[in-house]
Each structure stands twice: as C-alpha cells, then as structure tokens.
Symmetry: C2
Subunit: 247 residues, 2 copies
C-alpha cells in the first residue's frame, strides 16, 4: 500500500486540498492515521462511474483531481442533476441512509479520488473526536449548499441563475488557490441547464448575451470572466442595486 501511495505521490499530509477536504485541520498524528485508511486507485476516465445508484455503500470519496457529477432519475425517468464536485470536495454521503448509494457519480473528465472506506473511517472517528466533528461539519455544509441551491431555484430568474452558477464555480476554484478568472469547466451546458432548472436553449441564449456584454465567456469548456463585478452583481452577490442598469 505504501508503494501505491508513492506511486500516486500522495498523502493527506502533503495534500494541498487538506483544508478543503477536512477544513479545520487535524493533528499531524491524526492525519497519519487517516492516511492509513485511504485507498488511492487509478484515475477514472471520462464518463466512468465512481459509483452508481443502488450499489452497496462502502466508502466516501475525496476528489483529488478532475470533476464529478452527481445525478439520478426521477420517478418519471427525468435526469436530476444534484451537483458538480471539484478537487477537495467529498462525495458519497448519499449512501448513508440506506447503506446503498442513492445517486450516480460520474467523472466529467479524467478524475482521481481518495477512497475512504466508511466502516474504517467511522471506527477511526470514534478515536479522533475532532474527525467525527469534521465529518458532521462537512455534511452540514453540504446541507447548506443544498439550501442555497433551493434558494437559487426559488428566487432567481434565468440570468441570475447562470451568473450565480458561474461565479460559484469561480469562487470554488479561488478557494482552492487556483486561477478563477480563467478556468477549465468540463460541464456540458445541457447539464448546467438541468441543474439550474432551465432548458439548454435558455442557458445558451444567456451565455450568448453575457458574451456580447463582455461579462463572461464560456466556450469549449473554457470559462473566462471579463467583468467580475458585473457578474457578481447579476448573480445578486453584491448589494449595489444601482449598477444593475449597466447589464
């Protein structure tokens, strides 16, 4: 297993995403213990599934590189997109309820993950109270994200939704220390539309408008933010109500 670790040149201690993954930080000795249970497999190819709905729940997964989409199907067979996950994000909590995953997790790009077998993790978390707390915090953060998503769907119109989505992605890259005014985003517009409760046509029209207004362009998986302030403003982040006109 140590070979494997070195093969992937990875350990929790050296991982730049540690602060995102388990935010408030653990003691070095505790990190080492966590490290011992982490399994790092070879990366997933694009369109490969990390797990599928109905599979037995075994692990939660921390994403190290790439991007993952969580989705499922409604009773009527429509695809529901639950969210997009980036390096440092943790997925798999949907498996906790029924001891089987509720959603499908698919790689949108070449993606590598850290596999955290849950029985070992929860055993360890009994010995490291802080870890237990971390897990709860990560989960409750996820709950809050969900609430933000609902707020978006309830209160925002199409322009605001798209702007907020792009800015949200940018901010997540920012928090991870990556460039955020210009980044790769391997998400289909179709999937964004599903996630935002819009049609692909509407998303397309709005992106065309944003591009024409030199606010942001998103072409061929490449996002470039030209006017951060305006983008945030449309998204409803800033409280400046005046500059709205400019859009």
């Amino acid at each position: 297993m140590n070979e494997m670790k070195s093969a992937f040149n990875a350990s929790c201690f050296n991982c730049g995403l540690q602060k995102i993954c388990f935010p408030t930080g653990l003691l070095k000795t505790d990190i080492d213990r966590l490290d011992d249970i982490v399994e790092r497999k070879s990366p997933l190819k694009k369109n490969q599934h990390l797990y599928e709905a109905g599979q037995k729940f075994t692990s939660i997964f921390a994403i190290r590189a790439g991007a993952v989409k969580l989705y499922s199907y409604s009773d009527l067979g429509e695809e529901i997109v639950h969210g997009f996950y980036l390096p440092g994000d943790v997925v798999g909590f949907d498996g906790l309820i029924e001891n089987a995953y509720l959603y499908n997790a698919v790689a949108l790009d070449s993606t590598s993950v850290c596999n955290l077998p849950f029985d070992q993790l929860s055993e360890l978390s009994l010995k490291i109270p802080n870890l237990n707390q971390q897990i709860l915090t990560v989960m409750s953060k996820k709950m809050h994200d969900g609430r933000m998503h609902s707020e978006l769907l309830i209160k925002r119109n199409a322009d605001q939704r798209v702007a907020q989505f792009i800015w949200n992605m940018a901010e997540r890259y920012k928090n991870r220390g990556y460039a955020y005014d210009e980044f790769r985003l391997s998400i289909l517009h179709r999937d964004v539309a599903l996630y935002l409760g819009l049609t692909p046509e509407t998303v397309s029209r709005i992106l065309a408008k944003f591009n024409a207004d030199h606010i942001v362009s998103w072409k061929k998986k490449e996002v470039i933010i030209y006017n951060e302030k305006l983008l945030k403003n449309i998204a409803g982040i800033s409280s400046c109500e005046v500059c709205k006109e400019a859009g």
Copy 2:
C-alpha cells in the same frame, strides 16, 4: 430534573415518536443514557422562536408536538422558507457549520421540543457507536429531503408542487400513526408559496381548483383529502399516466 420529566410525562423510552426521531432504534440502556441528557422545557407559544440565526449553537431539538418553520433571509432581504417540521423531526443541524445557527426556527403553533445539548450528545455518541450512526443517518436523510425539494422546484409545475406538498405532509402524518386524510396544518398559504417557489395568488388559485374538483380542501388550517389517488397522481407519485386526464 426527574421532576421535570414527570411533569411533562416524557421520556425517550415511552415516546411514541422514538422510531421517527432515531429510526432504527437503540438498546434500552442506551435510550436511558440519551434520556439523561434531554432537557424538556415548557412549550413555545405560536410565533415564538426556538432559535434565531446567529445564535450560538448549543443543541439540536426533537419536536414533540406542534410545528416549526425554518427560514432565513437572502442577501436581498427576501424571506427564504427552508421547510416545515413536525413531531418526531429533528432540527438544529444548521448550527453545526459555524457553531451558530444559520436559520430561524419559529413555532407555527404551540410547540414543545426535546432539547439535546450537542456537546453532551456527541460525547455520548462516542460511547454509543450506533447513536453516532443514527445522527449521521438523520442528517443524510435531511440532505435527501433537500434534494427532493430541489427536484420539485426543477421539474414540477405549480399544480404538481402544491399536490406534492400536501401529499408529503399527509404521508408524514401517516408515518407517525396519525390520521392523514384529515389533519390540522397550521401553515400559512403564504409560507407554502415561499417554500414552493410560487406566489400566494398561484397557490390560492390551485387550491380553489383542487377544491372544486373534490380532490383536497385546505381551509382554515384544516386539510381534508377527498381523493387520495388523484392527489398522488397530480403530485406525480403514482406512475399511472392515463388517469391524468381526470384532473
């Protein structure tokens, strides 16, 4: 403290909501230990707050009777309604992230709750692994509820949203062993509208229609379901696509 318990004639062991509160059940000895940390205060009056956004996070709360609304305000000052909670439901997890509650929890009716001080609860949960598991399960169930809410907002039109909301409430009463075709629902239509991402006018029109069609009536906080099948059908629960016409 024992006096207080007997005063409210309550203990986790005797509580009829045990299965809802911590579903898969704990050993009797463990329940007693849980019981010891539960504080039961005098009931909240209508419109009193159980907690408010920004308050220091101290406890999670299990609702014993009444109803609670969770809400907050968006950056632009709009009210966001996050959900409605009934006896057996647990609220307060929003406090975990920042060690302060994120939302406001207000009683919609005279409401009594069991107060579970979180530091004691998490200490106890280290000693009772199953309890720890229960907490995670309750949380992940909440996450799933949130997802269902998003799905509703993304995929369903106004009729379906209202129907699904009412049926969802009915089902929750059913699960608790109460009458579910006729029950009290002390939620303002205004609040339902906010929760469903609709306007009060739209909700009103739809309820009028449902009433005219003898599907369900909701007047003066009293819900009566006349045609369960049709209601479920409109809500998109049943898979029978044919009977749709009848509506």
